[in-house]
Symmetry: C2
Subunit: 180 residues, 2 copies
């Protein structure tokens, strides 16, 4: 564990302990600073992403079809991992008040049901003039294999913000008409 | 309307009329070929995307907080529009059997509640050797202003596929604990 990730872990612990979330304004950012989040892919995740995006490609929803594809089983939408990356940027580093300007994504391996994807973002460039920040974005599976990589360009928040967390809306899926 | 988009519209009509969806394999792709999809952003869309991505940034979920931001109201997650782009690629052009290799996204304007986003993808490069296709991706709002732009790299399907559509899973949101 690097000093940077230790620092981040401590900050996250403080925020959780106080029941508050806080951002990392531009002046607190440094090269190499990281934040990460892990999530295990369930069939519900895939179905919910299909509903939200309207992407009903059967590679994600129909196990019989998916069995005949090059991946031999249901895989996540590539942009599901993209959404996890954006979530780390918007809620952890830099977090509250971040303005998203751009994102490049390379999809290098499928994410399968039961895979645990760990998304890590790392500060790579800091441009003080307009508070622009470039972050390296890596998503790996439980074997440590890259599944998605890329970089993000954001405007970091100017001021420190602390506030109570927003509860995650809970989703219920109605699959009565679906063919899974 | 260009000849290309007319051709696409006719193909889409045929597929709808037969109750089937079909893809556009590499050999049927041509430079300038387009497909598009429009969606009006509702608060439910934003809440559902938050639930799916875990991105609980209050800019998307808390109207009181959002009123104090530079956008003055709730805006969509940038990656929501990214997900619409990937849906057009995965379900329309090239559609079934497409392998997603990469996506660049520039977020140029916020998408607000009630905005109608039209996503259009256009074939820009065809590389026969490995069936690689580069598509220009544009998302505009109802004023025709660019909200997201970029390009996608995919492997187009080799063979024509036709199959019944997959029903979209329906989502129900439980906001009992949310602070919207």
């Amino acid at each position: 564990m690097t000093l940077e990730s230790h620092t981040n872990a401590t900050m996250a612990f403080d925020a959780v302990a106080s029941g508050m979330v806080e951002n990392v304004p531009f002046d607190e950012l440094f090269i190499g600073q990281t934040a990460e989040r892990a999530q295990r892919l369930t069939l519900t995740d895939v179905q919910a992403f299909a509903a939200v995006s309207g992407d009903t490609n059967p590679a994600h929803l129909d196990s019989t079809y998916a069995a005949q594809t090059r991946f031999h089983d249901i895989v996540a939408h590539g942009m599901w991992t993209g959404a996890l990356i954006s979530a780390v940027l918007g809620t952890q580093l830099p977090g509250l008040g971040t303005i998203y300007l751009g994102q490049n994504l390379r999809f290098s391996r499928p994410v399968r049901l039961g895979d645990t994807v760990t998304v890590r973002v790392t500060v790579r460039e800091l441009h003080a003039e307009k508070r622009r920040v470039v972050l390296d974005c890596q998503a790996v599976n439980q074997q440590g294999e890259a599944v998605v990589s890329g970089d993000a360009l954001v405007i970091a928040p100017e001021h420190k913000l602390r506030r109570p967390p927003v509860a995650l809306p809970r989703l219920q899926l109605d699959l009565a008409d679906a063919t899974v």
